[in-house]
């Protein structure tokens, strides 16, 4: 749980230092906004877990695909669309600096992919867990 603590410390530090953040521009910003949402959704929120995120990422959820079906079980390398084979750039921020920098893109893809993988929207807890997992990966 050590890395979770680090994430929370970083998130709190940013929350204290930033007066106004117009839009999330780093993975940590996104993590912070998921934390805010998760706290609102569930009173018993205890932080994000990279381990839980990894399990979520690699397993199917009652449908054909998991996140790993396209992003591969190793998000630091390029993946390919499960149906069309179109290459997909690495998802982990350490391997691809463009990931988790644009709120519109992040929102668009979570919406689409959660629908494809789960048949519903992801919760802030799930989004935060997955992002904590992705941020824990080194290139």
């Amino acid at each position: 749980m050590h890395s979770v603590t680090i994430f929370r410390v970083v998130a709190v530090a940013i929350a204290l230092s930033a007066t106004t953040v117009a839009s999330a521009e780093t993975a940590t910003d996104f993590l912070r906004s998921y934390e805010t949402a998760a706290k609102q959704n569930a009173a018993g929120f205890t932080g994000f877990s990279p381990q839980r995120g990894e399990t979520f990422f690699k397993t199917t959820h009652g449908r054909e695909w998991s996140c790993a079906s396209c992003h591969t079980p190793n998000p630091t390398v390029a993946g390919a669309h499960a149906k069309t084979d179109k290459p997909i750039a690495p998802l982990a921020p350490a391997a691809n600096a463009e990931r988790f920098t644009r709120p519109d893109k992040v929102e668009k893809w979570f919406k689409r992919n959660c629908n494809d993988v789960l048949g519903r929207a992801c919760t802030a807890q799930e989004q935060g867990d997955v992002l904590a997992y992705l941020m824990s990966l080194k290139k």
């Binding site: 149906k83 069309t84 084979d85 179109k86 519109d104 668009k108 689409r112 629908n115 494809d116």
Partner: protein
């Protein structure tokens, strides 16, 4: 117009041998482009040239992006509207007699005709994977070049 003429000559010279079957039905270079179309439609598959479906098909397809051939490809309304305008403007002729618009390019008579000499083993090759994967064989398909010169069937 240099390239289509050369292509026409090639068709004439190699008739019956090559893929030339439907080549004269239209040129195989698609130049219409749009940044948003390319970025959005091209993120999961090749941004298929608008000429490959009639406007009615594109309208129908763009109105159901949340259920796009089994996946959610939804876009914000403004982006979707801009892409639809581009697709309509550059759409192909409606060659179908059906009243329901064809949504799959691979089901159009044009596509079937153009690919009627492609053996089954090519479609089943894991490197091709799906007829939606144009660039498996049309190596410059992402630049709109579907000419016969630039076909490489993977082994």
């Amino acid at each position: 117009m240099k390239i289509p003429m050369r292509f026409g000559l090639l068709v004439f010279l190699t008739a019956g041998v090559s893929w030339a079957g439907g080549a004269l039905a239209g040129d195989h270079f698609y130049t219409a482009t749009d940044q948003t179309w390319k970025a959005e439609c091209g993120s999961c598959h090749l941004a298929y040239p608008p000429q490959l479906l009639p406007a009615s098909s594109w309208r129908e397809l763009m109105s159901g992006l949340n259920k796009h051939f089994g996946t959610d490809a939804s876009l914000d309304p403004q982006t979707a509207a801009g892409i639809t305008t581009f697709l309509e403007k550059n759409a192909g002729r409606d060659r179908s007699s059906s009243r329901t618009p064809t949504l799959r390019i691979t089901e159009t008579r044009w596509f079937v005709h153009e690919h009627d000499e492609v053996p089954d083993r090519v479609w089943k090759n894991p490197k091709v994977k799906s007829p939606a994967n144009c660039t498996a064989c049309h190596v410059d398909g992402d630049k709109g070049d579907f000419s016969e010169h630039h076909i490489r069937i993977p082994k």
